[in-house]
């Protein structure tokens, strides 16, 4: 557990970066500090490992005040990941990851063995171990940064905008993998981001801060979307929060899934026309995995080929959220959303109307978190 008690940071010129912050990051959970630039979120984070000293108030690490500790020793207990990874350019990847264990007095041999394990754990091939940071892409460097922070197996991790310096596709991947990793290791993490979507996606709980270093609201992501504490939070969380809150509502059988007739590649135009509902027919492969939608009148005498497929639809998992289901319906050219099971096999289709009906009956639905 990391606890802030009335923590204030004021600079000699009178600016107050953090103002009387009270906050508790529970053990094993991922707590996110989010807010506009200048809200003191990074300052708050850096006060935990005392890269910045608080002006007043106390920060506790598992009920011990950090103020009495030796700063260097305190920092060795806390993993730290920053925006551009901050790797040591003069050390190989494996030596970067082994830094902390060696600093803590472990043998070089042992530290490297552990580092190699971690490199693979964060999704990098072991062959990267002997490379230098410049030989890696931004996303790969960021993975090394995470591995380095984990190397000493710290109970606490601080992450400062860890995924913001990479492109959106890589960012999504890193976030997904990080969630998976955290579900395995269960560290007590505080992460800073300016990206509310990232905060809602990753956080067990989210602390929204406002300019002037004050805490505006601390809540679970779905609570933040459904009941923002004030106008500032509502505005910061964003306009389409109603739609996005559906991302936290499990479908859990609440939506009626309709039967959908299917054809396979190679089918004749006649067969496709016979199976089609309206202008569109769903095409699947031999194991009933959806391939795309096709229009029978475009097949024009021949047989159904890949080039006839419309790929715009996004399949939703039956176990997914309302938002995914609605998105599947709206993105499909037939306006019927494809629903699949956990193996990616077709269950049936839903219409937007069906999903909306289920949403209107929301009190019966189980919320995700």
């Amino acid at each position: 557990m990391i606890k802030f008690e009335n923590v204030t940071k004021a600079y000699p010129d009178g600016t107050v970066a953090v103002d009387g912050l009270n906050l508790e990051a529970p053990t094993g959970k991922l707590t996110i500090l989010v807010g506009p630039s200048g809200c003191g979120k990074t300052t708050s984070l850096r006060m935990i490992n005392r890269l910045i000293e608080p002006t007043s108030g106390t920060i506790y690490l598992d009920d011990q005040p950090t103020s009495g500790m030796d700063a260097a020793l305190l920092r060795r207990r806390i993993g730290y990941v920053i925006q551009h990874a901050g790797l040591f350019p003069h050390r190989t990847i494996v030596d970067n990851v082994a830094t902390m264990p060696i600093l803590l007095g472990e043998s070089r041999q042992k530290a490297r063995t552990k580092a190699l394990e971690l490199i693979e754990r964060v999704g990098l091939p072991a062959s990267f171990a002997k490379r230098y940071p410049w030989q890696l892409s931004g996303g790969q460097q960021q993975r090394v940064g995470v591995a380095r922070a984990l190397a000493s197996d710290p109970a606490f991790m601080l992450m400062d905008e860890p995924f913001s310096a990479v492109d959106p596709v890589v960012r999504g991947q890193l976030q997904d993998e990080f969630l998976r990793l955290q579900s395995e290791i269960g560290k007590t993490i505080i992460m800073v981001t300016h990206d509310i979507d990232e905060a809602l996606k990753l956080g067990d709980q989210v602390a929204v801060m406002r300019v002037g270093g004050k805490l505006a609201q601390m809540a679970s992501p779905s609570e933040l979307l459904t009941s923002p504490a004030d106008e500032f939070v509502a505005d910061f969380v964003g306009r389409d929060r109603g739609y996005r809150s559906l991302g936290f509502t499990k479908t859990a059988g609440a939506v009626a899934i309709g039967e959908e007739a299917v054809v396979q590649l190679g089918a004749s135009a006649e067969e496709a026309r016979a199976k089609a509902t309206g202008a569109w027919v769903l095409v699947v492969d031999g194991s009933r995995k959806p391939l795309g939608w096709a229009q029978p009148e475009q097949i024009a005498g021949g047989e159904l080929k890949r080039e006839h497929l419309n790929l715009s639809g996004i399949a939703a998992a039956a176990s997914g959220t309302m938002r995914q289901l609605l998105d599947a319906a709206l993105s499909s050219p037939s306006r019927r959303g494809v629903v699949v099971n956990e193996h990616g096999e077709l269950i049936g289709t839903v219409t937007a109307t069906d999903v909306v009906k289920a949403i209107e009956a929301e009190p019966h639905l189980e919320t995700a978190r």
């Binding site: 925006q83 790797l87 350019p89 003069h90 902390m100």
Partner: protein, 216 residues
């Protein structure tokens, strides 16, 4: 070129070359050793940086012949004492390298320094294990310039009669004889190239991690 003269003077030339190497290399090493802490100090303090770099710049503007002549006043040495040359070249080397060392430490990415601190490196550990190693390419670039200039500067001392390769120039002038002059110039250039090459090799050995060898 009179090869026969060179053969006869071989011992003398080797003696002069030896002195030239000593007068070049000793100030280079002394200068680096002095510039490292001074450069670190300049890097650490916003107020000290302009002061140290300013003084270094002023020292650098003093022409070498003038410095050779003025140092005996300060050191209490004789005008012919090679110590004057060592002191003068050490001053030039320090003047050049103070700023280089400060800039080298400044060139270490802030993220890297912060990461070292956050992982619990104490400041001396961070300096020795992270900041200085990462600053090596910049420092060695400065060291190369200092080494090559020192070779040329040492030869000026011949005008005061201190023996080194420059003595070949004055001798050639007095005898109106080209051979020693050309030999002296060639030896100076070769010595400069060798020192330059050694520093490049040293840098390459210390920085296996750089994307490519730092171009000159």
């Amino acid at each position: 070129m009179n090869i026969e003269w060179l053969g006869r003077q071989f011992d003398t030339i080797v003696f002069l070359l030896g002195w030239h190497v000593l007068l070049t290399v000793i100030p280079l090493i002394l200068g680096l050793l002095i510039a490292l802490p001074l450069g670190w100090w300049a890097h650490r303090s916003r107020r000290i940086y302009p002061l140290l770099v300013g003084v270094a710049g002023l020292l650098y503007t003093v022409p070498s012949l003038a410095l050779f002549v003025l140092l005996p006043l300060v050191l209490g040495t004789k005008i012919l004492d090679p110590l004057n040359i060592v002191a003068a070249l050490t001053i030039y080397t320090v003047a050049l390298l103070v700023r280089v060392v400060a800039d080298a430490l400044e060139s270490v990415p802030e993220d890297t320094v912060q990461a070292a601190k956050a992982m619990g490196y104490r400041s001396w550990q961070s300096l020795l294990k992270v900041e200085l190693p990462v600053g090596v390419p910049v420092i060695s670039a400065g060291l190369r310039v200092a080494a090559v200039s020192n070779v040329s500067l040492v030869s000026v001392a011949a005008l005061l009669g201190i023996p080194q390769l420059g003595s070949l120039f004055t001798q050639g002038f007095q005898l109106r004889f080209f051979t020693p002059i050309i030999a002296g110039i060639l030896l100076c250039v070769i010595l400069a190239m060798i020192l330059d090459g050694l520093i490049i090799l040293l840098n390459r050995w210390l920085t296996p991690w750089t994307p490519k060898v730092v171009a000159s």
